[in-house]
Amino acid sequence: MTTASTASNASAVLPVSSTPLLQVQGVNKRFGGLQALSDVGLTIRKGQIYGLIGPNGAGKTTFFNVITGLYPPDSGTFELDGKPYSPRSVYQVTETGIARTFQNIRLFGSMTALENVMVGRHIRSRSTLVQTVLSTKGFRASEALIRLKARQLLEYVGVEHLADKIARTLSYGDQRRLEIARALATEPKLLALDEPAAGMNPSEKATLRQLLERIRADGISILLIEHDVKLVMGLCNEITALDRGKEIVRGSPELVRKNPDFIQAYLGKAHLEHAA
């Protein structure tokens, strides 16, 4: 498979550092009678694209939402870049340095593409109500900087020609890329993507792949939930596979691919022989 080989080449060129960036341990989450996550964890090292996979209902998105602060966990320890953080509120997690996108795209529909990215600069800029109302020099400089950086990010993901379009009129693939630009605007250390390739055609997927590799090369680690096994196996240096809220295997794509539990849980029994 060509995609897999290019990815392993890429990781050979850009070695992953051994310093852990995100360390999550012992996460439990219960919804009423359903144990959605039991004692799961992961360690993402700097410069890594980390995959989180599993069949439907495995708890991927729940785990993802816990890490990014959307669902408060019942237990677990969370550490980003050596500092513990509390995943109790989404905006604080973003400020800590984890930015996310959503499985069902959540752009600010009636704002332009540029304004969407400008919103992402919110936590990395400071202007008070008084400064805004008086339109002080500092305020104008800050706004100009926000606008400049937002334009650069649109260019970075390749949608700069759509800057003044209303976000909801953009094509599906462009919306996905715009959402990534908006997340990057928060200057994250870790970019968390929830099924970024969902609904994309092959050429859009190829573009996305290049974009993700570029982001990683620029020093931002990526946590990826994805159904497209080909894409995950090709892109990620390390993978955690979940099933029914439990971790079944963790390791390199080759290791995961050969793990019988994984094959059985994810692809079904019939594939066991095929893989062997």
Binding site: S110, V119, S127, G158, T169, A185, N201, D218
Partner: protein, 384 residues
């Protein structure tokens, strides 16, 4: 702000010469303009809460009431008559200068905005509307009943003898309705018109600055998608409180102007119906669009009052003197309702929709299918 175009100059000129022209038909017509400006101020405030931040507020008039009553208490003999210690301090009644009382009215309303906002942070949509509706009624009922055991608001009788606003030592109430500005004499309503016009212009400027700022974008983001807004690192709690209180400040200042203009306040000026009228102005003008809201407020404030003045004369002109069939009040309600129905059918997202009014790019071209765009990626270092 962008460069001033001839259109803007013409508009400014019209607004400046409007009162003397309208005034020839009678002071009542200028009075309608004055009230229209007050309503524009109110609607701009509500637009911050409902239009920008998307928080449906049915009790907005409470902030207008807070501002009006605070100004009334600080600028009338009422408190001195009720409390010996205040009378001892100021035997002729409190006459706090406007540059203190109006800002205090705005600030107090802002504090009330936070008081209303804090318990409603987790509510949205219909539930938020119900709670804010209750808040508006609570304020009105308090004003109605705070005349016993200690008489603070004078209950349903309201507070009268409120000082008019004086600018640079010249009272805008004037002598028998004529204000003398160093030789220029204008009628009181005209003098108020110019004051309100200036304040409205400032309010519009403030709104434009807010909406095109970090804060304004955060409000719109919350309106569009609260969870995504949080994921962008926006502290939605603080931003919502800021929206409530910024809107309330507009309401409070507008209320204090109302109290001074009328010289009298009573709880019946602050009913639920008033809240709904102001909300209608915002929705009809175009939620979130500043010019739309200004036009909506001007129309909904001026048209019904104008109808009140012309319904009877028009009928008498057609049917002969004394033959008017439809009562002015009835015709007014009828036409008012009809106008709203027509406008909402014709322009469901308001006179000027905030989205349609955006600078339009070229028609959306979907390039992704034809040519697999592999973008020339700039480096992330350039970004940061």
């Amino acid at each position: 702000m962008k460069a001033i175009k001839p259109v803007h100059l013409a508009l400014i000129l019209v607004l400046l010469i409007l009162p003397p022209i309208v005034g020839t038909a009678g002071g009542a017509w200028v009075r309608i303009l004055d009230f229209a400006l007050l309503y524009i101020l109110l609607a701009l405030g509500l637009n911050i809460v409902v239009g920008f931040a998307g928080l449906l507020d049915l009790g907005f008039i409470a902030f207008y009431a807070v501002g009006a009553y605070l100004y009334a208490l600080l600028s009338s003999p009422h408190l001195s008559e009720q409390f010996a210690w205040i009378a001892a301090m100021s035997p002729e009644g409190m006459h706090v200068p406007i540059w203190i009382s109006i800002p205090i009215a705005g600030l107090l309303a802002g504090v009330f905005g936070i008081l209303l906002g804090a318990p409603t942070l987790k509510l949205r949509g219909d539930y938020l509307a119900i709670v804010t509706l209750g808040f508006g009624e609570i304020v009105r009922i308090f004003l109605n009943n705070l005349n016993a055991p200690v008489n603070i608001t004078n209950g349903p009788q309201g507070i009268s003898q409120i000082d008019p606003i004086s600018v640079l030592g010249v009272s805008l109430a004037g002598e028998r309705g004529v204000v003398d500005f160093w030789g220029f004499s204008v009628s009181s309503v005209v003098a108020y018109y110019y004051l309100f016009l200036i304040l409205t212009a400032v309010a519009i400027l403030v709104c434009f600055r807010l909406v095109d700022s970090r804060i304004g974008r955060a409000w719109v983001a919350i309106r569009e998608d609260e969870i995504a807004a949080k994921a962008m690192g926006i502290n939605t709690r603080n931003m919502k409180l800021l929206a409530f209180s910024a809107g309330a400040v507009f309401g409070g200042i507008s209320g204090s102007l109302f109290a001074s203009f009328q010289g009298f306040v009573s709880p019946e000026s602050f009913t639920l119906f008033e809240s709904i009228v102001v909300l209608a102005m915002v929705v009809l003008g175009g939620l979130g669009n500043i010019w739309g809201v200004v036009i909506g407020a001007a129309m909904l404030a001026a048209i019904p009052e104008a109808l009140r003045l012309i319904v009877i004369p028009v009928q008498e002109a057609i049917l002969g003197p004394g033959n008017a069939v439809i009562d002015a009040e009835v015709a007014r309600q009828l036409l008012y309702g009809l106008a709203m129905v027509v406008i909402m059918l014709w322009r469901p997202s308001g006179l000027i929709s905030s989205v349609a009014n955006r600078p339009k790019g070229k028609a959306a071209v979907q390039t992704t299918n034809e040519e697999p765009v592999v973008p020339e990626l700039v480096t992330l270092n350039a970004k940061i």
